[in-house]
Assembly symmetry: C2
Homo-oligomer: 228 residues x 2
């Protein structure tokens, strides 16, 4: 059975994001996958990158460098336990699903903090092992999110620009950098402004997509896909 980690960032279980997460757990479990959820708000996950992420002495206590210190701490097994826990989940996963409401053309800070703190050098990348040779190669990622703005606002030529423009930092800058292959994003546009029936259709469409997810090919994660 394949292993899936869902990193989930919504405060309200009754929200559409909460339902999308539940649908994924149910559908993927039904397929025989083993599914783990990191429910970031419920965990009160710490988003701030600080000295507290390193247990014991610093490599250089004269001038704190977060990137260097977490790299060194990773190598000696000295990262804080919440990070070790998340890294274990990532290591075991074949697929990472990120489920969140779009906040300011990006993920909520609590999820950005998960990226900043979990994907440390040595674990997820280690120069020159980045992009196609990143340390998390052979894994897949999928960004599944809801928006406030409509599909029209996020069209090419729309006031908010093509939705793909804002996927570049998340899909290329984070996942591709770590060697993870990216499946097409799953986007529910403006669920707050549609009918209850339309929201139910959104859930059904997600469940439907998940049925054949393992047959999908990753996108070609190069500038052409985003800015063609």
């Amino acid at each position: 059975g394949r292993k899936v980690l869902i990193v989930y960032a919504h405060q309200e279980p009754k929200s559409l994001n909460g339902s999308l997460k539940r649908v994924a757990v149910e559908e993927l479990s039904k397929q025989g996958c083993s599914v783990t959820v990191s429910d970031l708000y419920a965990m009160q996950f710490e988003p701030r990158a600080t000295r507290n992420d390193i247990v014991g002495c610093l490599h250089n206590s004269e001038e704190f460098n977060y990137g260097v210190e977490t790299w060194e701490a990773y190598k000696r097994g000295g990262l804080s336990s919440d990070l070790i826990e998340e890294q274990k989940k990532v290591q075991e996963a074949d697929l990472l699903i990120f489920q969140f409401p779009l906040y300011w053309f990006s993920m909520p800070a609590i999820m950005k903090g998960w990226m900043d703190r979990v994907l440390v050098q040595g674990f997820a990348h280690e120069f020159p092992n980045c992009y196609d040779s990143g340390l998390l190669k052979n894994k897949l990622a999928l960004f599944s999110f809801t928006t406030g703005g409509s599909r029209e606002m996020y069209a090419k030529g729309g006031i908010s620009g093509d939705i793909r423009y804002l996927l570049w930092p998340m899909q290329h800058g984070i996942m591709h950098f770590c060697g993870v292959k990216v499946l097409a994003p799953h986007i529910c546009f403006a669920p707050e402004y549609v009918s209850e029936e339309k929201r139910k259709e959104m859930l059904t469409a997600w469940a439907q997509r998940l049925k054949t997810l393992w047959k999908e090919e990753p996108i070609n994660c190069s500038p052409e896909w985003y800015f063609k």
Copy 2:
């Protein structure tokens, strides 16, 4: 005298980011500006968007919606005191400078949390008052940051793509959305991999730019600037 708010996110005062922040405070003060700094790590600024941001009763306690609740709370003066404090600083400022190390093609989570929590509906935007008619119009913003990757990696055709690609969510999606005009970014590429002398030149160049900053024209914040 003009008013400047520097939103600063680095853990280490001795870092280049720390020095860039100090240079800005010194140079702008010398010009007669009144400069305020929000030192996010020192403040232990909260990045998570939760129910704690609303004082008193919720508008809808059955199903928590962060956007709706903070909008309602803003209107009745019921946001948490740390947010009211930051909004006051923004309101008074003519120019916002964001000083940070680039983390994963974006700002560190602690600064993303500042955006998520401070720029609430009603204060920074209120449909249809967004983009050119955003509620923070007549203000300027400038993103000043350091990178891990080199200028070559962030060139058009480079492995990390044109650095402008990753500026879209921050400059257009956040600042322009709120009506803020954006000055050209100030980027120090890969300071960790250059000589002490070169780092000093970076500080001098920043001080030099600040001398004539008020004469600069904002960029044309449209897809052409980013993806041409």
